[in-house]
Amino acid sequence: MQRSTIANRKPFWSTIPRSLGIRLAQIGLGVLLLTVWEIVALQVGSFILAPPTALVAAFGEIVQSGDLGRALVDSLYGLAIGYALAILLGVTVGFLMGWYPSLATILNPFISALYVVPVAALVPLLIVWFGIGATPRIITVMLFAVFEILLTTYTAVRDIDQRLVEMARVFGANQRQILTRVVIQATLPLVGAGLRIGAGRAIKGMVVAELLFAATGLGGLVMHYSSRFQTDRIMVVVIVVAMMGVLLGWLVQRLEYWIAPWYHRRPNRS
């Protein structure tokens, strides 16, 4: 009885539906950050830190001039191709390594070595090999994202629940059927998590590539504006990049729900 009275004394926010509560908290946090930012910006002066209200105007300007649109198209092109290559390569090699342990043993030291090399350190080489066109940017995006995707895929396949594999064998599954009917589905949730981490890394790679290789895309805009000390416009571009991260993360999450609905619909997980 004691227990139930304690349980009944719920906090007021428990009456708000959970999803709505989370949205409200997000909006509240956003508003709080913007307010603090505005106040600090007014103190230090808009050259050092442009206030959010000034950013709205700056945003309008660079949209109107078409600068932002052109930069976005450039950036998204490199991002999309680089990320797609990272998925293709990461998932394929990760899967093969998980499926063939000896291949993993062979490749592991090479992957560990590549993994610790800062991609930025490869830039001079990439320029020598590929010039300064779209190719080195695509490769940079790919290199930024591929390892997370590869390693999560590899781990997921390697650590597949052997009990399910044994069950499939009992019912007569051959290796190909074990792969297509058990391993692929079982690894989808973890691979999806790898894709989500990889998406964030790909965006970082995109900006780094644009800053280092050529004044193009969103990174190029940042360079352009910083040469003119337009800090408000720099801030706008940074926010656009951050929004891309949010959007891409959300898209990949939708994809995860779509490919593994069973995983995300498990009840009673609270």
């Binding site: 009990r163 399910l164 044994e166 499939a168 019912f171 007569g172 589905q185 069973w262 995983y263 619909r265």
Partner: protein
């Protein structure tokens, strides 16, 4: 009964089977674990055999050998006179931990084995629905395993095994993960299911519960770690049977007392107080 040979051969013959596992310890040294030593037993078609023994005595190893998931170190296993060389559609396993595919609905899980056998979609659906009805899950076809209770998940496991219509049903402590009430309910239902199944099933049922063995089986085989069979008892009761009737049967009490005394030195940690 469709017995393809001379009609006298047992369905399952385990002949002098030894199974050893080699474990690598510390990278270089290896250690050999003997899970089964020189085991010999026969099981006739249509029998419901309980394999009883403390944990670690090799029951799961025996089932995996019969299922063809692993090969004996010595000796051989024959099904219908033919040596086992791998899994086959004549045998199906019900696992203690259910092993349902979490991304498949109840219905799709039951269809899994039939899919691998290449049975047509229509026939698959029909047989799956039949098996689901047999285990009492009608109406739950579209539910995912995570949305089902343990007892219901195991019903799906049983339906999946029955749906491929095996001659031999291998059950490895299938109710071991269930609570006592569900467990006793499932025991009653399993008896009905086996009695009602399209073809009279041969069942090998692994358990470490004396009561469960006595309620379900025609025959109880008692296993001990590293030795050959301890006991081979044919039970004098008809199937299906009710636990309430058994409890007052003097033959039942006698067999139970006997099994308790046989298992006693093994099951030191288990309570084995005889019933009044």
């Amino acid at each position: 009964m469709q017995i393809h040979n001379n009609g006298h051969n047992p369905l399952v013959q385990v002949q002098n089977v030894t199974k050893q596992y080699t474990k690598t310890i510390g990278g270089t040294r290896t250690q050999t674990v003997t899970a089964l030593a020189q085991l010999t037993l026969n099981i006739q078609a249509g029998e419901f055999v309980a394999i009883l023994g403390a944990s670690g005595c090799g029951k799961t190893t025996l089932l995996r050998l019969i299922a063809g998931l692993t090969m004996p170190t010595e000796g051989r296993i024959l099904i219908d006179g033919v040596p086992v060389s791998g899994p086959g559609p004549d045998r199906a396993v019900v696992f203690q931990d259910f092993r349902l595919l979490p991304w498949r609905t109840c219905l799709a899980n039951v269809e899994f084995g039939m899919e691998l056998l290449g049975i047509s979609t229509a026939q698959r659906r029909e047989r799956a629905l039949e098996a689901i009805a047999l285990v009492g899950l009608r109406g739950w076809e579209t539910y995912y395993p995570a949305e089902l209770s343990g007892g219901m998940q195991q019903r799906v496991g049983i339906a999946r095994a029955l749906a491929v219509n095996p001659r031999l049903l291998l059950m490895d402590e299938p109710f071991g993960a269930l609570d006592a009430i569900t467990r006793s309910q499932m025991q009653q239902e399993l008896m009905q299911i086996v009695a009602n199944a399209a073809h009279h099933k041969t069942v090998i049922f692994v358990t470490h519960s004396i009561d469960e063995a006595l309620i379900l089986a025609d025959r109880v085989l008692v296993m001990t770690r590293g030795r050959s069979l301890l006991e081979d008892i044919t039970l004098p009761f008809e199937r299906p049977r009710r636990q309430s009737e058994l409890l007052t049967d003097s033959a039942y009490i006698e067999v139970k007392q006997h099994l308790l005394s046989v298992l006693e030195p093994e099951s030191t940690g288990q309570q084995s107080a005889p019933q009044p």
